[in-house]
């Protein structure tokens, strides 16, 4: 048996550069595989699919225009080279859109609550409640080093660096720079804070198909972790804040209604725990207000005055019918052709009406008749007609409002689920 070789490496690195090249290649391949995998996972099965190509700068500065109206851009070629197809835009592609096209697209992405005109069953078990902050409803996208907030009509409110994932040019520890996060927020002017009321996407993972219960859990655990709730700094221009969300039992409802919040309240929002995030108006999210929890219970007119008669905004259809913004729309009445012609109105116009003495009449839960008086075209900043529930809520506020006591009574009565009447087929 020969003695064993005991030579050790001398004056030479243990790892050769060739080995280093090999290892770096493997590392790059593993990273690329991870990126490809990550990208595939982020392809959400919703309207938000991530473009397969990687993109450079998200949006050009030229787009920094305020509140221009969609109409004023009609006939304009979209400045983007990309042909915008009507549906299935991905958010990254959408962020390449400019001006009016971008606004149109983003305007459709928010979930809007119906107004609460009656109390849903199971309020105390199946619903959350929270006090809605007063302010501008925004859709926030953080992506590729920038954060952009857009108002309900799609126009940009702020473009800023934030501590949201990929929300500033600071190096992020995890995840691809191409992954985006989307939040549903209300910007509260007084303390210059974005109050986050829902989470739509986080680090590229879509939460659209997740229940509100899950989304709120996720929001709660992820937002603070990102540092977005920290005080503003160079890389984080606005503070983000969570809104206290309660189970809609007696205590929760009472707390949301009475307890002091760091923001000015504008009504209460109710979210069904099992509902997914659904763009447009949904009956699974509801808004309710009274004078104690909102400055604006009854709609004001252009001058900020409460008009003596309720006003509604409806959309004029081609055949002269006046409809709400719901899908499917509710028809509130009809304008005759000669009037339309005389007033120079076109289909699609948003028109303002006053509700007259005759009020709104229901038969068997269906709208039978509404006493409408034409006032003129709606404010040009309006993006859409009123919803049916809004009209009805405003109507009931003026006539027989749904009171907090009614709400509290309904959650109290539901304490014992056994007391709830149920339909049971009796076989006798």
């Amino acid at each position: 048996m020969a003695p064993h070789d005991i030579r050790r490496p001398f004056k030479r690195p243990v790892i050769s550069d060739q080995q280093k090249r090999r290892e770096l290649s493997l590392l790059r391949q593993a990273q690329n595989r991870r990126d490809a995998q990550h990208q595939a996972r982020c392809l959400a099965s919703t309207a938000f699919s991530l473009a397969s190509q990687t993109l450079e700068a998200p949006i050009s500065e030229s787009e920094l225009e305020v509140e221009a109206l969609p109409e004023s851009h009609k006939g304009h070629e979209p400045e983007s080279e990309q042909e915008p197809s009507p549906k299935d835009f991905d958010v990254v592609g959408a962020s390449k859109l400019k001006g009016a096209e971008a606004r149109k697209w983003f305007a459709k992405q928010l979930m809007h609550p119906e107004w609460m005109i009656d109390i849903p069953d199971g309020l105390s078990q199946d619903w959350y409640v929270f006090a809605r902050p007063s302010g501008k409803r925004c859709f926030i996208v953080s992506f590729n080093g920038t954060t952009i907030s857009r108002l309900r009509n799609g126009s940009i409110l702020h473009r800023f660096p934030s501590a949201l994932p990929n929300g500033s040019r600071k190096k992020d520890v995890s995840g691809s720079a191409q992954s985006y996060s989307i939040l549903d927020c209300i910007f509260h002017e007084l303390d210059q804070t974005y109050y986050v009321i829902d989470m739509v996407c986080w680090r590229g993972y879509s939460l659209y198909d997740c229940t509100a219960e899950f989304r709120f859990f996720w929001l709660d655990s992820k937002l603070a972790e990102s540092g977005a709730c920290d005080a503003p700094s160079h890389y984080h221009k606005y503070r983000f804040s969570l809104v206290p969300v309660y189970n809609c039992d007696h205590n929760g409802l009472y707390a949301a209604y009475t307890e002091a919040a760091p923001y000015v309240k504008d009504g209460l929002l109710f979210y069904n725990k099992h509902s997914h995030y659904q763009t447009g108006i949904t009956p699974l999210a509801l808004v309710w207000k009274d004078e104690n929890c909102s400055q604006y219970v009854i709609d004001t007119d252009n001058e900020g005055q409460v008009p003596s008669q309720q006003q509604v905004v409806l959309e004029l259809q081609e055949d002269g019918r006046l409809t709400t913004s719901d899908d499917p729309p509710t028809v509130f009445g009809c304008l005759d052709g000669s009037f339309i012609e005389r007033s120079g109105l076109k289909s699609g116009c948003l028109l303002r009406f006053a509700v007259g003495e005759g009020g709104v009449v229901f038969v068997d839960g269906k709208l039978e008749n509404a006493d409408l008086h034409y006032l003129g075209k709606a404010n040009r900043a309006r993006a859409s007609a009123d919803s049916f529930s809004k009209v009805m809520f405003q109507y009931s506020v003026r006539h027989s409002p749904l009171r907090i006591d009614d709400l509290l009574a309904s959650v109290d009565s539901a304490v014992d689920p056994g007391a709830k009447p149920c339909d049971i087929e009796m076989d006798g």
């Binding site: 064993h4 490496p9 550069d17 090249r21 493997l26 397969s52």
Partner: protein, 875 residues
């Protein structure tokens, strides 16, 4: 009849097989082959008989033994398995006769015959003992050992040594182990007067150490073994002393935690050997301390700096305790350099061993070594005798890794200027070599963005670079070290995050100097050419935006050089050409990776892509595996940078891709090609479809082959995932072939019980590959109407995940991939798989564990899985 003749004539054939005359030799080899093929039992029997027959010539006996040994074992795993099966199925009577011949040969007067028989017996034992056969072997070897003649005792001990080397300790029962050790240790004892016997015994003990677990836990037995081994280090016979120290070094790593009582004595005998004994013995004595350092470095690393004492083996701080005596002993060895040792690659002497050990000691004890070494350096560094200057410099270089920067930076700040001057002006090459190496160590360990006080400043940067570039014109060994120093100088700026590098003003000069070094006529000596390209690669890797134009300019230069080597293909220095091609491809690969990593710089080098690709393809014409590997790596980088446009190279590249996948022999080439298939998939996406039939066929063949090195198999599975992700539902037609392979590999890899660390590591890489394949397949099929095709696989995949979780031995990488697969399954199969998912343990406990993992990648994947599951079960 023929067989009979063969058996009769075997002696002559064996002699002819060693004939000088090629024709005779060839004929004999042919005869042997025929004999073996026609009647293996008779063939092996004849060989054993030949070996055992003292009347036969030494040459034919030796070759007979060798052929017999080679018929029992092979290097390649698949042949080895085949031989084992072949032997096991042989007629038992023949086997018994062969074994009898072998045991008889141990008493032969011929040393060669005995030694060959010892090795063959060990091979047979290696096959039979794990199958509980030949139970009488150990007993018959050990019976009457003391009464045997010395020759047979020596052969028996040698046989025991080989057996211990061959079989794993768990197939020998403790009773036999005790008997073996008793016999072996008795042989080592000074009462054994025959040196050959004693040497065989100590060498056998070296191999038997792994069997002595129980005996080393017994104080009395351990004391006895240690005393006997220590006594053997004092034998008058050099071979015994050397083997005894070798045994001590092996004990130090196998039974570190049992050494405390003996350290005092061991220090005395090693110190004496280092000082006074002949070099082969002194080298082994130093090695004892180096291996103690290895142990303690490992243990302290495991402690991870905080001394919570969680480690299995406690650190006894032997080195720290021995430090005051150990360091002077090692410093003394540094003065025993040989002239020109730096020019001879094969040299290993006491000065080198001592210096290496000093470096390990510094890593073990850190700051404590500095005050013990500094006086030696100060005293010697300016002495007229080059040995003293070199030793002082080497000592300084050795301690630069280990002690804290706080301790070292002030010293380096003083020494740096001195070293720069020495590198320019010292008359001795050896001193200059060590000086350049020491500068490299300074930059390696004390220069970089992680350090608070920089040793390289605006004030000295220019001087440092000027000196290093000048040194690159020195003799090859000095120039090589200067290149190495520049490598670490550049590396230190890698993570600086500066848009501007302090190297920028010198970039052009540095590149030129390195290229000049590669062009030197003597660049083949001392690895100079390789070192120069390595430094160039590092300079490119660490370059900043400012120097991009210069990196771009480098591309056509390197391409031109590669072109020239291809034109010179027929020159005699073929191996050199291939090596150079490998280096040039490596350099281009680094450049592609650098420039391809950002859009604006990518644009600049893409103009060369076509030419580069055609050069790489020409490299495949050479026969060098290294060159192939480098060209393949470069092509992978190019594919990544090029993206979908890479499609235009595919018609030509494809055949080389296939060739690479078929290269079982140079499995590194095969492994790298598999990785490149992944690169190409990501670049081409579904444009790779036309090539997938061929690629998949090849990959499936690779997986079924038992010739291909096992390390390539996990990446092949990952590659399935890459392909599936790229081609989506087009993967449908491969499902039928790929999934059974995945499934059977999954079954194999689900359990690791009883495996060693290497096996567990391999198993985890296999699991990772399998899981990456599943991930890619699920994600590839997502949203396709064919998703339902995957439904039948869901139960077994979930079961695999559950069993992995139950096994509790996944590393973080596998955990991350596994939990990701759970998410991918839920994401793609949606509510259809909801009930299945809810039944699986993985979707609950495993997911929960991952969500609170310390590893953020694991958490990220777990969050993804949680989301996907919540969607799948909420519908």
């Amino acid at each position: 009849m023929l067989q009979f003749q063969m058996a009769m004539e075997v002696t002559q054939i064996l002699l002819n097989a060693q004939a000088v005359d090629g024709t005779v030799r060839k004929q004999a080899e042919e005869n042997l082959k025929q004999f073996q093929e026609q009647n293996l039992p008779s063939f092996l029997f004849s060989l054993a008989g030949e070996l055992a027959n003292d009347g036969k010539p030494a040459e034919s006996r030796k070759l007979a033994g060798l052929i017999l040994k080679n018929a029992l074992d092979a290097k390649e795993q698949h042949r080895k398995i085949e031989f084992v099966q072949r032997w096991l199925s042989l007629d038992p009577t023949v086997k018994t006769q062969i074994k009898a011949f072998l045991l008889k040969t141990l008493s032969s007067p011929s040393l060669d015959a005995r030694s060959t028989a010892a090795q063959v017996i060990a091979k047979v034992a290696g096959i039979e003992l794990p199958h509980k056969q030949w139970p009488e072997l150990i007993g018959s070897l050990l019976s009457n050992i003391p009464q045997l003649p010395a020759l047979t005792r020596q052969a028996t001990l040698e046989t025991l040594g080989y057996i211990c080397e061959e079989v794993s300790p768990d197939v020998v029962d403790q009773d036999h182990v005790n008997k073996i050790l008793t016999a072996v240790v008795q042989g080592v004892n000074s009462s054994e007067t025959n040196n050959d016997v004693r040497l065989a015994a100590i060498q056998a003990l070296y191999n038997a150490l792994g069997f002595a677990q129980a005996n080393f836990s017994n104080d009395m037995e351990r004391d006895y073994i240690m005393r006997v081994v220590c006594e053997a280090t004092l034998s008058p016979e050099l071979r015994i002393r050397r083997a005894a120290f070798e045994c001590l070094a092996a004990i130090s790593s196998t039974y570190y935690e049992k050494l405390a009582l003996y350290m005092q004595d061991i220090f005395s005998i090693t110190a004496k050997a280092v000082k006074e004994d002949e070099e082969p013995v002194a080298l082994q004595a130093v090695e004892f301390w180096s291996s103690i350092c290895d142990e303690e470095i490992d243990i302290l690393e495991e402690y991870g700096g905080d001394f919570s004492g969680d480690s299995d083996i406690p650190c006894f701080y032997f080195i720290k305790q021995a430090l005051p005596a150990l360091v002077p002993m090692l410093l003394e060895t540094l003065l025993k350099q040989e002239e020109d040792q730096d020019q001879d690659e094969g040299t290993w002497n006491i000065a080198m061993a001592g210096g290496t050990c000093l470096g390990l000691v510094a890593r073990t004890v850190g700051d404590d070594i500095v005050p013990l070494v500094m006086p030696f350096i100060e005293e010697n560094i300016t002495k007229p005798d080059w040995r003293q200057r070199e030793a002082a410099t080497y000592a300084f270089g050795s301690i630069l890794e280990g002690p804290s920067p706080d301790k070292l930076v002030p010293l380096v700040n003083v020494a740096l200027n001195f070293m720069l001057t020495a590198l320019m002006q010292d008359p001795n090459n050896h001193v200059k070599d060590t000086t350049a190496w020491t500068l490299g160590r300074m930059f390696e360990f004390l220069h970089g963005s992680a350090l608070e006080t920089p040793i390289i400043t605006q004030a000295n940067c220019q001087q440092i670079i000027t000196v290093l570039l000048q040194s690159m014109k020195d003799v090859p060994n000095v120039a090589e070290k200067a290149c190495g120093a520049l490598y670490f100088l550049a590396q230190g700026y890698e993570d600086a995050g500066l848009s501007s590098s302090p190297l920028t003003p010198f970039f052009q000069d540095i590149v030129q100097a390195l290229l000049n070094a590669t062009h030197r006529d003597d660049a083949g000596e001392s690895r100079l050419r390789t070192a120069a390209y390595e430094a160039l690669n590092e300079v490119v890797r660490c370059s900043t935006d400012e120097t991009t134009p210069m990196v771009v300019q480098l591309v056509p230069i390197i391409m031109m050089e590669l072109h020239q080597t291809l034109e010179n293909q027929n020159l005699p220095a073929d191996e050199r050409q291939n090596e150079l091609q490998g280096l040039l491809c490596g350099c281009l690969q680094v450049t592609i990776q650098k420039l391809g990593s950002s859009e604006p710089t990518k644009y600049h080098f893409m103009q060369y892509a076509d030419q580069m690709m055609s050069l790489f393809l020409r490299v495949f014409a050479s026969r060098s595996a290294t060159a192939h590997e480098e060209a393949m790596l470069a092509i992978g980088a190019l594919a990544y940078a090029t993206g979908p446009d890479f499609a235009k190279y595919m018609p030509e590249f494809y055949k080389y891709l296939e060739m690479g996948l078929q290269n079982f022999e140079d499995y590194q080439v095969c492994a790298i090609t598999v990785g490149v298939v992944g690169d190409v998939c990501r670049a081409l996406e579904d444009k790779i479809v036309p090539y997938c039939d061929g690629i998949m066929t090849q990959l499936l063949k690779d997986l079924s082959s038992n010739q291909l090195h096992r390390s390539v198999k996990p990446p092949i599975f990952s590659c399935f995932g890459d392909i599936a992700l790229a081609i989506g539902e087009n993967f449908e037609k491969y499902l039928l072939y790929a999934t059974p392979m995945l499934q059977s590999a999954a079954e194999l890899s689900a359990h690791t019980s009883g495996a060693d660390d290497d096996m567990i590591e391999y198993t985890n890489s296999l699991r990772n590959g399998i899981l990456e394949a599943y991930s890619g397949i699920f994600q590839g099929f997502k949203g396709s109407p064919k998703t339902q095709l995957l439904m039948p696989y869901a139960p077994q995949i979930l079961q695999f995940l559950d069993s992995l979780y139950a096994e509790k031995d996944m590393d973080d990488v596998v955990t991350k991939t596994a939990i990701g697969v759970l998410g991918d399954l839920a994401d793609t199969l949606g509510s259809n798989a909801g009930p299945l998912i809810q039944q699986s343990v993985s979707s609950k406990d495993f997911l929960k564990e991952c969500l609170s993992s310390d590893d953020h990648l694991v958490r990220e994947s777990a969050e993804w899985a949680k989301l996907a599951i919540s969607r799948a079960i909420s519908f």
